[in-house]
Subunit: 650 residues, 2 copies
């Protein structure tokens, strides 16, 4: 039976080079013949070079690939050298070796030949993680790619798809995966009971073989929901002892377990606040239980008041994460990692970089991104996020450190996965670029977004230049286009409530979520300077000054930081209102161009990808027009100002 | 075991009069001793007059109630005469007799004594119907009173609650009930199969005993979904024959069946349009199948395009029902009744009266009302609809008939029920007034709303004058208050999408439902005159002229018919914008006053009603403030005009 899913970028095909004769794999001291690196190498070479006669260790072979473990390398680092007669890959551990092997295979495929290579690589970020928001019943919160392939009807699934997924993640350097939703509900609460240990152990062992640690999202009140205790107070010795015992039990039963991921005191989830404790109390209590087992606690900083009164203009949700966690810097145990969303709100198409990345100088941090396109078109719209992720990682916090980029402040990055059981894993084939690119970026952030996407396009669609050029053009322009036809200049939250798809400019305006644009007939945006909510003051100079005035604030974040009249003149020389009109017409034209370009690929890419893509580009264009006309109508009705070019506004 | 539900206005209690001795019921020729009228009389008298010795037919009794069937009366009519020595009730049939008996009991309770009465009554409308939107799985569409008591898990339920419900309906003169949702989905499609006939027969027999005909909502495409035919074209002989055979089968199996209720070609339901046929073709085809069995087809006129482009300002949903049905006047068979919603949109707090009531001079019509408070506070807010219903029935269509009120143009009225399995049947005790009042109004529309509500309050809460006065005040003022703090001047559709509770001024503005307010910084409302969408021209003079100009249009419908600037001066002398502000503050104060008045009844009404009421009044007040502040903020932000009284706007 054919696999009911695509192999994505691991769909090896014979290289277009003449190669016959013997090809030997030599496993030097320390390299087990049945490790993942060796098995991947066999899988790849036997397909890439179908004429080759594959053997182990034959010195006389015409082509020899030598694999080694080298102590002097960091565990996940590797060296790779290759030429037309063979290759040598050394890893700091089997994981490093595996990454080196994938790099070599990637080079063979992208170069379509036995190229000369010599490089030493180690991953920039120690933790490179995917967070699945998969529920035990098989549904996926904010999932746009079908059902979960980890769970079905409250059972854990392990299948050949699981293996394929582990290979895909390892191939881009992902080394940790939280398999269940941070909103731990229903049966998922009971993953911390022995009923699930056997399956979790099988899964942890499988993932571990591919260098991936298994994480579980846990319910902070598990001592009550699972343990039957009367409370879950982190300072209560009975609670501490329950978690210690639970950690002993699960870590000694489940191989490959990395630790716990926790969403506490957020959007209805339980947390330490219920007991008058702070987030350090909560996180450290768990961390101490996991410490003997080498486990880590990944603690989310997405904490805010989700029952705000919209009439209250002083409370600013943007400040909430900072205000909660900044005072606790230095209070966290060393096996706690705070997971900070890239911006202070919630994965909008444009947000400033989260100020916590600057201030938490004595705390281990991971940046949290979202591959699932919750607010960016839900995988019906093409929206390649890699340029944005890279820009965020490179952003300088000006916090007095020598190296002050976000990348320098974090020891990890996690991303909400965009996968499900759809044929192509991510609903849209093009959304796979985000999955691929996130891993590659965490591993080698020195790569440009263009390098990464080009690599992905080549691996996915082969060397056809027209295909590569057009897809690269679409993908690299897609985030800008999406931003243009949706929410202007960092304003955020103009999507429809609940499902977050399509436009509703005031859908969140009079609600409890702290997400307002405060538009009226004269002006729009929120003054977040010291004269307003004070949010901009959470940044170090010069950022706090730059953000505090419409004259200095970058245009793309203007409406996040400042309240300005529709007649305000942007750095582009346009008035705000004319910019809104223009960008919406332009973004929509881009969506139209993308669709046209994609349609021109008929016959050059496989039929199913073409059909699926066309369907989605068509929907993207329909929806882009809705966005254009509704957002423009909204501001036109409020401002009363006509379009300079006389285009139809509603 | 105590019944898990209230007896509502049939909770008889001993009268506060001295009565002992014998009391005889005499059933004259034609009156069966086991008919509902007799059993109700026994139930009532044995409780009302606990000292009485109840016998049958003893001439020597001190007090005699004589029951008779009289040919000269219309079947549902009755005469009632009574004094301190006895009473005589004659009905045109057992149904008329039953209504007379209920009238007599009502008089005993409200007068608290053996009063003198002499009257002849017959119901104004032949069809007095409740439509249940109950689904086979037990859920209720737009239900705010718990689950269905007709269905559970795809089974039909018959219990003592069913009997109690039949008594309640009969006591207010309801003579027909459609038990399932007009959106016929899931297992309900199969009610037309023999699997359900036995239960339907039991139910039909039970209801019939109380003078109530059983109606089923049916799927227009049942020949396909049930019959397996390839199509449901009403002009296809195979389809006609299928329905004829189905009618024979079900009418010969189910006693008390009155006919079918059909929602066709509306909001996704199948209908004749799929086959290029019109609604007369569809309705008549069914009517002919039911004709031999005396069955009726009740055909809804709620047909409109629910995929409208919001950019399209020429298409007007308000015109849709008229445009679909007016050309077909006179084309319907005589056992078809067209069910026309009270207004052209959908049960908003204020709409003009539907123009079809004027133009359909040669078609049997029923007015459709909604007791379920879908758009009027969902039974969390008190909103007594009886004054509005009465106003609509009394509204003159000026269509050239001698008697030209809506009441004169219809032969029936149906209302979407507000009941469920909640303890008090309607979620809120006070919402019961709508159920009671609708029945009474259909029977005797000459009664004033105040008469009806006063009667209900007395039956429900006894003769305590303070209680009666306060509840009467609350109920009679409640619709006006709700209108004031929600949607101004007939504008409609400012509720949250989907669930329709709470404010969202532009929640329906950019959507596909044909429900727009077209507000901008200068003006609001839709010009529906001949210069605009032309809707006002669907009325006869002088209505069409009155509605076509802001100078003559009644204020309460101004924003339905006209587009006017915020500075437009109303007949009240206020500007439109000031009226919006004032009415929202006033309505909210009324909600506050209602809550205060209700709280003052503690101890004077039963504890459960008090507790339940307080909870709901509290929520009403909270929500009224939301409405006030959001609607005022919306118009303030658009208009930029401050409140004359300097009150806080957001």
């Amino acid at each position: 039976m054919e696999a009911a899913y695509s192999k994505l970028w691991l769909d090896y095909k014979p290289l277009d080079i003449p190669f016959s004769g013997s090809l030997a794999i030599r496993c030097l001291k320390g390299v087990r013949r049945d490790c993942a690196a060796v098995s991947e190498l066999i899988t790849a070479l036997s397909t890439l070079l179908p004429g080759a006669e594959l053997t182990f260790g034959a010195d006389s072979a015409a082509f020899i690939v030598e694999l080694d473990i080298a102590d002097y390398l960091s565990p996940e680092g590797y060296t790779l050298s290759a030429d037309e007669r063979g290759a040598s890959v050394s890893g700091g551990s089997e994981a490093g070796l595996l990454y080196g092997v994938f790099d070599y295979i990637r080079a063979l495929v992208t170069e379509q030949g036995l190229t000369r290579i010599s490089r030493k690589v180690s991953p920039a970020l120690p933790l490179r993680m995917l967070d699945h928001w998969d529920n035990a019943d098989g549904s996926i919160e904010r999932g746009y790619s079908g059902r979960s392939f980890f769970f079905r009807d409250n059972e854990i699934i392990i299948s050949d798809r699981t293996v394929q997924y582990a290979r895909l993640l390892a191939s881009v350097g992902i080394n940790a995966v939280a398999i269940n939703n941070v909103n731990v509900r229903g049966e998922a609460v009971r993953f911390l009971t022995s009923a699930y240990y056997q399956k979790l152990d099988m899964l942890g062992e499988l993932l571990g073989r591919w260098g991936i640690s298994l994480y579980l999202s846990v319910d902070f009140s598990a001592p009550m929901s699972v343990g039957g205790l009367p409370a879950a107070d982190p300072l209560d010795p009975a609670v501490q002892s329950w978690w210690r015992e639970k950690a002993r039990e699960i870590f000694s039963s489940v191989r490959g377990l990395g630790g716990f991921l926790v969403k506490a005191d957020s959007e209805g989830q339980p947390g330490p606040y219920a007991y008058g404790r702070d987030h350090a109390d909560g996180a450290n209590m768990l961390a101490r239980a996991l410490k003997p087992w080498g486990g880590k606690v990944i603690w989310r900083c997405f904490v805010y008041n989700c029952s705000q009164d919209w009439r209250d203009t002083r409370t600013d949700r943007a400040c909430a994460g900072y205000n909660t966690f900044a005072p606790l810097d230095g209070h966290f145990d060393d096996n706690v990692i705070l997971q900070v969303k890239n911006g202070p709100m919630d994965f909008q198409v444009r947000e400033p970089v989260h100020p916590l990345f600057g201030v938490m100088k004595n705390t281990a941090l991971a940046a949290e991104f979202q591959l699932a396109q919750e607010y960016t078109g839900q995988q019906l719209h093409v929206c390649c996020l890699i340029p944005m992720f890279r820009e965020i990682m490179e952003f300088r916090m000006h916090n007095g450190r020598d190296k002050d980029r976000v990348l320098d402040m974090i020891s990890g990055a996690a991303a909400v996965s965009n996968t499900g059981d759809s044929f192509c894993w991510t609903g849209s084939e093009l959304a796979g670029a985000n999955l691929y690119g996130f891993g590659r970026l965490c591993f080698q952030p020195e790569l440009s977004a263009e390098d990464i996407i080009d690599e992905w396009v080549t691996l996915m669609f082969g060397g056809n230049e027209e295909v590569s050029e057009k897809l690269l053009y679409i993908l690299l322009g897609s985030h800008e286009a999406y931003e243009k036809y949706t929410v202007p200049l960092g304003l955020g939250w103009m999507c429809k409530p609940n499902h977050h798809y399509g436009p509703d400019p005031w859908g969140y305006e009079f609600d409890r979520w702290g997400t307002y644009n405060r538009a009226d007939r004269d002006a729009v945006g929120i003054d977040r300077s010291g004269r307003g909510t004070g949010y901009s003051e959470l940044y170090y100079p010069p950022l706090c000054d730059i953000y505090s005035s419409p004259e200095t604030c970058p245009d793309e974040l203007l409406l996040f930081f400042c309240r300005v009249p529709y007649t305000h003149v942007l750095k582009s020389g346009k008035t705000l209102i004319q910019h809104i009109y223009d960008s919406h017409f332009e973004g929509c034209e881009q969506a139209e161009e993308f669709y046209r370009l994609f349609r021109s690929l008929e016959g050059s890419i496989d039929a199913e990808t073409f059909r699926n893509g066309c369907e989605r580009f068509k929907e993207q264009l329909r929806c882009a027009k809705e966005w254009r006309d509704i957002v423009n109508a909204f501001f036109h009705r409020l401002s009363g100002i006509e379009d300079e070019h006389g285009r139809r506004l509603y």
